[in-house]
């Protein structure tokens, strides 16, 4: 890949911004659609294929892995528990839909299968894993969490409904958060 000034700036910025699975409190203005109330803050930041491949390329991922990553849609999710009770992140309670039809995100097993096919190194698998949103987390008061959810790259726009149980025993009610018309950004056409 030809290293250009623009590439380096993009890469540096992305490295600074990419959230880990633990993240930290973030400040407005947020870089994507968000919902904020007394219980939680949830921010979605859709990424372009170029951003994601640049990030993983800089972490030493091989070309075959980058080609697979380029075919998908990454959305970085940041959630903060602003309440004083446990909020349960369980992505099994999330619904993703395109034009009202439910869709599935690309799950960990599917990535594992792809990585097995190309014999991806353990270090790359580890890094990839730590950049994904956990599927289950008992978010403690004030605890943030972040990471990517990944969809098929053919999707242009989708809706997300995320439901969260609350309380130690999940009996303190449910939070119902909805996002509509989230874009999957496409790669800029080459001149």
């Amino acid at each position: 890949m030809r290293i250009t000034g623009q590439y380096l700036i993009t890469l540096t910025t992305l490295c600074m911004l990419l959230t880990s699975t633990h993240a930290a409190a973030i400040e407005p203005p947020y870089r994507g659609p968000f919902v904020e109330n007394d219980d939680l803050l949830m921010v979605l930041v859709p990424r372009t294929p170029e951003q994601m491949t640049a990030f993983y390329e800089a972490r030493g991922f091989p070309k075959a892995a980058l080609e697979q990553i380029r075919k998908t849609c990454f959305v970085t999710v940041h959630i903060e528990n602003k309440s004083q009770r446990i909020i349960w992140l369980e992505t099994a309670n999330w619904d993703l839909a395109v034009d009202g039809e439910r869709i599935q995100r690309i799950d960990k097993q599917q990535w594992t299968n792809w990585w097995n096919d190309i014999n991806l190194a353990d270090a790359n698998r580890s890094t990839f894993g730590w950049t994904q949103l956990p599927t289950v987390r008992d978010l403690q008061p004030d605890e943030p969490v972040g990471g990517n959810i990944i969809l098929d790259g053919n999707i242009s726009q989708f809706d997300l409904r995320a439901r969260f149980y609350t309380g130690q025993d999940k009996r303190d009610g449910m939070l119902d958060i909805q996002f509509r018309d989230i874009n999957c950004p496409k790669e800029e056409p080459q001149p």
Binding site: S20, H22, T127, R137, P144
Partner: protein, 170 residues
């Protein structure tokens, strides 16, 4: 007499909570956990020197997992360096574990933000996986007997007084 007994009973009831152990006040993000035995941690540092957590018992250890690509880790690392400086001759041992990066990545990053720190290198991420952190960055406080007594959620401003006092009190 009845009034006196009622007064005595009320006084005793009021004093009862004071007889129990005072609740531990912890800085934000620090969670007390149940003293489980710390998993094995045997790695080489950035200079290739071997390290074994089990061989360093007898004092508290601050075990911190991080990666240079993670924004909160990048923001936190200079704070850890300032914390070490503020703690001075403390017996607390600082154990930094880089997760799944190369020497070049780590050297380049630390050279800019925290040049005095020397991390252990978990090149394939297997040791980090065994510790099962809730995410990166992650910090554990391991007691002199090798048990994890506290877990710290997310990146923290370690040089702040509340954290320094907590760490000095271990």
């Amino acid at each position: 007499m009845k009034t006196a007994c009622s007064y005595l009973l009320c006084t005793c009831l009021l004093l009862l909570p004071g007889l129990s152990a005072p609740a531990e006040t912890l800085p934000p993000g620090v969670m007390r956990i149940d003293g489980i035995t710390a998993p094995a941690l045997k790695l080489n540092d950035l200079d290739g020197t071997p390290y074994d957590l089990n061989a360093t018992s007898g004092h508290w250890r601050f075990v911190h997992f991080w990666a240079s690509w993670c924004g909160p880790c990048r923001r936190e690392m200079p704070s850890i360096e300032r914390m070490i400086s503020a703690l001075g001759e403390s017996e607390l041992e600082i154990v930094l574990v880089n997760t799944s990066e190369t020497e070049d990545d780590v050297f380049t990053f630390l050279g800019i933000v925290a040049p005095d720190l020397l991390p252990l290198m978990d090149r394939d991420g297997k040791v980090t996986e065994v510790w099962q952190p809730r995410g990166l960055p992650a910090t554990y406080l391991v007691d002199p007997e090798g048990r994890i007594q506290y877990q710290v959620l997310g990146g923290r401003e370690w040089e702040k007084t509340e954290y320094l006092e907590f760490l000095r009190g271990l």
